[in-house]
């Protein structure tokens, strides 16, 4: 058992004393344990060493080549060189920041589950939030190391001239936030399903997304470097940059909360935090609307407003379909944490777990935020046709209600056989779209061979057609709404009984320590509360 330990052996591992070491220990004590572990691991890992080495060599090669070229063309130190050099560094730095790191984050999270190491971590004192933050921080640390290598290079381009410090700062800040956004997307995707096939599929998707964003960023960066010299003096440019960074921040936060929610065990409240962040992201779009209206002083207000409304609509629409897959069971734990005060009940009840509550949450969230955006627009007095924008809001909200309601119906059916997940949500979305968008299109192709020639009643479900119709001055706006709105109200209305049941289940208090966990899929659909079981009498008399 306890073995005699020689002093020498103890020395072998005992922390070496010394001021620096102690200071480092004190700092490391406060750090996220996962960050410390990953840092220790990461420094020894081959992937990091390889990428780092490659990035370093590329940077050196590019520097030397750039200098040689400038010598060759006898351009001495002129403006073009600094700009081209910077673009080159961005192209190199972008690869680790926008492609390697998000994929590394994904792999690291997936690996934790695949290797079975996460189980043991999950039963320590670490919270799901700490786990996600630890993963995020350890990937960001790698990013910081890449960054620090490029700082001298970038400073060097500044000395060559042709770029301002502000331009460099903007590029790095925007690039850094896009990188954080992609990393959080990678983390969120990694925890959605443990199925190998799904993960392979998602990995390919993530690679494509990263490549696309990388290309987009490079194009925007070169645009800015070559044509945006005057941007810096333009306050609109700065507010646009600030808004984009804010929005990326909001959605990174959403991805973080989604990842964290997936790590929270079943039967605990996974919903509230995610829903609050959904509201924040929506508010980001409303803020964008206000900003654009301010900026354009009413010139293109309606058009830009439409664009932002569409974004807001897309936000809530997607949110709705993900919320449909929430757990139905209301456990004692969830019940205990449900709001008790009247005001709390009225407001926070919509943030409580449950698919029907979630559906109505997205519906109200969407409607309220669209109305706020509309008020901003009306307040700025920037409208040509008031009825048009009101119809727009009504139509978009109706689509959330209609498709959400149909999706919820389909999901309730599917729950009999499968446990909901992101994949199931996607299948439901696909099914609903096929039914209401694909089938009419097919029908039209078969009968008239050219689609969308003329507005027909079954186009009412197709937002692309109806919104276009609402836009056009001759459009039958009210004809559309007369059909669409009642249908949407009905689609939402059929869920009112389920909504009532979910709210009631939250109120219900059972004086029992028993908690039921419906497990066979057939049990999942049922809304009945499990009977309480008198375990108390089984306790030993010692209690």
């Amino acid at each position: 058992m306890t073995q005699a330990v020689s002093a020498k052996e103890q020395m072998a591992w005992a922390p070496r004393a010394g001021f620096l070491r102690r200071w480092e220990q004190a700092l490391a004590d406060r750090l996220n344990p996962l960050l410390v572990k990953e840092a220790r691991q990461g420094l020894k890992s081959r992937q990091f060493a390889f990428t780092f080495f490659l990035a370093l060599v590329s940077a050196w090669v590019w520097s030397l080549w750039g200098l040689a070229a400038s010598e060759f063309y006898e351009m001495t130190v002129n403006q073009e060189v600094g700009r081209e050099m910077l673009m080159g560094y961005l192209v190199i730095l972008g690869v680790p920041l926008l492609i390697v790191l998000p994929l590394a984050a994904f792999r690291s999270m997936v690996g934790e589950h695949e290797d079975g190491t996460y189980e043991l971590v999950s039963i320590t004192g670490l919270t799901p939030g700490q786990v996600v933050r630890g993963k995020l921080a350890s990937v960001l640390l790698q990013g910081l190391i890449y960054f620090s290598v490029f700082v001298p290079c970038v400073a060097f381009t500044y000395l060559l001239g042709g770029v301002s410090l502000l331009q460099i700062a903007v590029l790095l800040v925007v690039g850094g936030s896009v990188s954080i956004g992609l990393i959080s997307v990678g983390l969120a995707m990694a925890v959605q399903s443990s199925s190998r096939h799904f993960q392979m599929f998602v990995f390919v998707g993530l690679v494509m997304l990263c490549m696309f964003v990388y290309l987009l960023c490079m194009i925007l960066a070169s645009e800015h470097l070559w044509w945006g010299a005057s941007d810096a003096s333009n306050p609109e440019f700065w507010s646009a940059v600030a808004w984009v960074v804010c929005l990326i921040g909001c959605y990174s936060l959403l991805m973080y909360s989604v990842t964290r929610a997936q790590l929270i065990p079943r039967g605990h409240n996974r919903s509230t935090a995610v829903r609050v962040v959904m509201l924040i992201c929506g508010a980001g779009w409303v803020g964008g609307t206000a900003w654009v209206v301010q900026l354009t002083k009413g010139e293109y207000a309606a058009e830009v407003w439409q664009l932002f409304q569409l974004a807001l609509f897309a936000h809530w629409f997607v949110a709705c379909f993900f919320i449909l897959g929430e757990q139905t069971e209301v456990t004692r734990r969830i019940r205990l944490q449900a709001p008790r005060s009247l005001l709390g009940k009225a407001l926070a009840i919509w943030l409580q777990p449950g698919p029907t509550l979630g559906f109505f949450f997205t519906l109200f969230g969407c409607a309220v935020q669209m109305l706020v955006a509309l008020l901003v627009l009306l307040q700025a007095d920037a409208l040509r046709r008031t009825d048009e924008v009101i119809a727009y809001v009504a139509a978009l909200t109706s689509y959330v209600a209609f498709y959400g309601g149909m999706g919820l119906l389909a999901m309730r059916l599917l729950r009999r056989w499968v446990v909901p997940s992101v994949v199931v949500s996607l299948v439901v979305a696909l099914g609903v779209f096929t039914l209401f968008l694909g089938m009419p299109l097919m029908y039209e192709l078969l009968v008239y061979s050219v689609p969308f020639q003329q507005f027909r009643w079954y186009h009412v479900f197709n937002p692309v057609v109806t919104l276009d119709e609402i836009d056009s001055p001759t459009g039958g706006t009210w004809d559309i709404l007369i059909v669409l709105t009642p249908v949407a109200v009905a689609a939402a209305g059929i869920h009112l009984p389920a909504l009532w049941r979910e709210i009631r289940a939250l109120r219900h208090t059972i004086h029992s320590t028993a908690t039921a966990w419906p497990d066979s899929p057939s049990e999942l659909g049922s809304d009945q509360t499990q009977p309480s079981h008198p375990f108390e009498h089984l306790k030993s008399p010692a209690d």
């Binding site: 072998a12 004590d29 572990k37 320590t124």
Partner: protein, 315 residues
Amino acid sequence: MKRSQPAIEVYNLHRFFGTTRAVDDVSFQVHPGEVFGFIGPNGAGKTTTMRILATLDQPSFGNAYIAGFSVVEEPEQARLRLGFMPDYFNTYPYVNVWEYLDFFARAYGLRGARRHQAVQEVMEFTGLISLAEKPTRALSKGMKQRLCLARALIHDPDVLILDEPAAGLDPRARVELRQMIRHLANQGKAVLISSHILTELGEICDSVGIIEQGRLKAAGPLELIRQRINQYSVLQLEVLSDPQQALGLLQQHELVGEVHLRNQHVLWAQFRGDKVQRAQLLSYLVNQGVKVAEFSAQEGSLEEVFLSLTQGQVQ
């Protein structure tokens, strides 16, 4: 909701996988300082029960408490009071023994000097000091088990849940493990241990639970279970006096069942009773003038108990 007394309480635990009843109405308790052996054939539901207790899985029905905290409703509290050693060993690449333990110490919220002390202590206890710098991937099976135990002990939990800790260990390592577990129990920890190696459990367990097809066939102190199963122990007597006299006396005794005359001097008798009653029987025979040369009782081994309780049905 802090409760006193038992460190592990399991009430009417159920866990269904589709139609498989992996755990079917299991209830038992383990007190501080007690080693509870969980015995059952393959697929009996041992791992499933232990994973629920370790808050890694959730019961379909029923509840369990670790140091008074429900694993269903207050898993955060329960986790801090339990150390779990699963039947697999997974580790991170590029991490050495010290770093591995240090990570878990941090994860359990140990800071500064306390953390160093905790890591040092568990490494000493499990004899890993000399391997501190060795990569975890490169450890032998026995050393991995030690590391696993060290990890489970790092936050000094009240409850230890060990899933087949002795599997794959050589005899010496087994003895050492047994000593470690005994030592931990003496410190007041409640230990729940599952194993196929029944004789081993017999030596270190205070109580056992025998589980098959998710159902607990018997649970309680080892002695009680033995008695319940083997109501009769077999007495073997060698008498130098008249065997017929001994036969007659035995047959009249209320605690003795069937009696056989094996050969001229040796008798076999089924006896129901404890050691004291056995001693009384012996003195009674001697007082009656029977010359007893040998008197021995063969109790059912744990192996026999196990086999008599389970039918070897595997789900």
